[in-house]
């Protein structure tokens, strides 16, 4: 598959990504050797979900496939599960247009 599997646990699709995708259901406390650095999961993360490989500031870019997939809505630490609770889309945001008074 595209990208590299780190320690049989996390798939990093592109070198510039700051999240990895789990290739199995992983439990809190799992230690993953990510190119010499140890990533410790701070919570359970199900198969196919994302884990932070680097810290991300609130408002910072979340990168997967070598592209920006959203922004962090709060600071994210290494080993945290990255999903809708701490990462959001910047596209198709009619709610923001409505707040600006631009919607029909």
């Amino acid at each position: 598959m595209k990208g590299r599997v780190l320690d049989d646990a996390l798939l990093r699709l592109s070198a510039s990504d700051n999240v990895g995708t789990t290739v199995d259901d992983l439990e809190s406390g799992t230690e993953i050797d990510a190119d010499g650095r140890t990533v410790v999961l701070v919570e359970d993360v199900p198969f196919g979900h994302k884990v932070a490989l680097e810290p991300v500031d609130s408002g910072g870019e979340v990168r997967k496939y070598g592209e920006v997939i959203g922004t962090a809505t709060q600071a994210i630490e290494v080993g945290e599960w990255v999903h809708t609770h701490n990462c959001e889309s910047t596209r198709g945001r009619g709610d923001r247009a409505a707040a600006r008074g631009e919607s029909a």
Partner: protein, 395 residues
């Protein structure tokens, strides 16, 4: 190119991989009769029931008519019966005539004129019998994969879609395009966040502009209505499967078209070219409507990737289902044709792509898909919504 199959060559030059007699209702009011007539006749008759009403605003009606005509013109159709109640804005005779320009036999059935449903069913059976005799005159003959139009779709996506199933199907598309055929993917809302990548792959500035314009229009719909796309895209199911944002979903979705240059983008249900390379179609994200758009565009075979599992099929085009999720394969292998979850055990994307391509050739050659075995068929036509019409008027 060494990859041939036996297909039904129609007089307009296109090659069918099946020889169905289509029973096409022009509205919801004729859909039950169309289904009943086809069911009574047997598996060779395939109805395309849908929910659209007898009257629609002009732009919506034109799109519906284009899809009905395209459905009948699909080369998998050997002959077609167009059924109407008789009160529709869309005229069954006109639809039948436009289908007949491909050289195939057509007939119409008007329920009101036959004197109600009982007579319509017996008249319909008689007309279908005549059409079957016409369709049966077609013989399978040698055809080349370069004559295939391969529709590519995804539904019930999860994180494995963009990692395994979609890139594998993309590798199969690359093989088909290399052999001279056409591959087409669609679902414009799922270009959002990945349109810059698509734009960079366009062969012309015109195609590039058109793609960006269509993406902007789909995204603008959300803004126009003051709603947040996040409620619907990614869907709650996609989110459970690990997809967080539409950008992430789109970046995974576009890999199902492969890596070749993008040669054009056509409107929903418009004819897709043969020997066309990779061509996009502007469709909604609703997968059943999107598949129907590509079948109306002439796709003889469709592939459908799913992470979470799907049983979908189409009445006229075989649908090859591919999953990249090993758990979904374990649970639903009787509904899925190709297991791409093997990439998690080390099989290369290219190797899975070769298996998808082989399956495509075998299915074109007559092998039935899991959905065909079980007669799992869905049909729905996208209806242009009033808000879209307003946007169109306002430019």
């Amino acid at each position: 190119m060494g990859h041939s199959f036996e297909g039904y060559r129609r007089s307009n030059g296109r090659v069918g991989v099946r020889n169905h007699v289509a029973v096409i209702p022009t509205s919801v009011a004729a859909s039950s009769v169309a289904s009943a007539v086809a069911d009574e006749a047997g598996a060779w008759a395939r109805a395309t029931p849908h929910q659209l009403g007898t009257s629609q605003p002009d732009p919506a009606r034109r799109q519906t008519e284009r899809v009905l005509v395209g459905t009948g013109r699909n080369p998998n159709v050997g002959a077609a019966l167009v059924v109407e109640l008789g009160t529709e804005d869309i005229d069954a005779e006109t639809v039948a005539d436009d289908i007949a320009t491909t050289g195939k036999a057509t007939e119409t059935l008007t329920i009101r004129e036959t004197g109600g449903t009982a007579n319509a069913l017996s008249e319909g059976a008689e007309r279908l019998g005549r059409l079957k005799s016409e369709a049966d005159r077609a013989r399978r003959e040698d055809a080349d994969v370069s004559e295939l139009v391969f529709g590519v779709e995804c539904g019930g996506s999860d994180a494995t879609s963009g990692i395994a199933a979609n890139p594998a199907v993309g590798a199969a598309c690359d093989r088909l395009v290399e052999a001279g055929g056409t591959a087409s993917f669609s679902e414009t809302p799922e270009f959002i966040g990945a349109e810059h990548i698509l734009a960079d792959r366009c062969v012309s500035g015109e195609t590039r502009e058109r793609i960006l314009e269509r993406v902007e229009a789909r995204e603008g719909m959300a803004e126009l209505m003051g709603v947040d796309l996040r409620g619907a895209q990614p869907t709650p199911g996609n989110q459970e499967g690990g997809l967080t944002t539409i950008e992430e979903k789109s970046l995974g979705a576009i890999s199902k078209g492969g890596t070749t240059p993008i040669r054009g983008i056509v409107d929903y249900g418009d004819e897709l070219p043969t020997n066309g390379g990779l061509v996009l179609m502007d469709t909604p994200g609703y997968d059943v409507e999107s598949v129907v758009g590509k079948v109306a565009g002439g796709a003889q075979v469709v592939t459908f990737t799913t992470g979470r599992g799907s049983t979908t099929g189409n009445p006229l085009a075989p649908v090859i289902k591919v999953t990249g999720n090993p758990k979904t394969w374990d649970r639903m292998s009787n509904n899925i044709d190709v297991n791409a979850g093997t990439v998690f055990d080390g099989e290369s994307i290219d190797s899975v792509g070769a298996r998808v391509f082989e399956t495509l050739v075998e299915v074109a050659n007559g092998r039935r898909t899991e959905a065909e075995h079980r007669r799992l068929e869905e049909f729905a036509i996208n209806e242009i919504q009033p808000e879209e019409l307003t946007t169109e008027v306002n430019g």
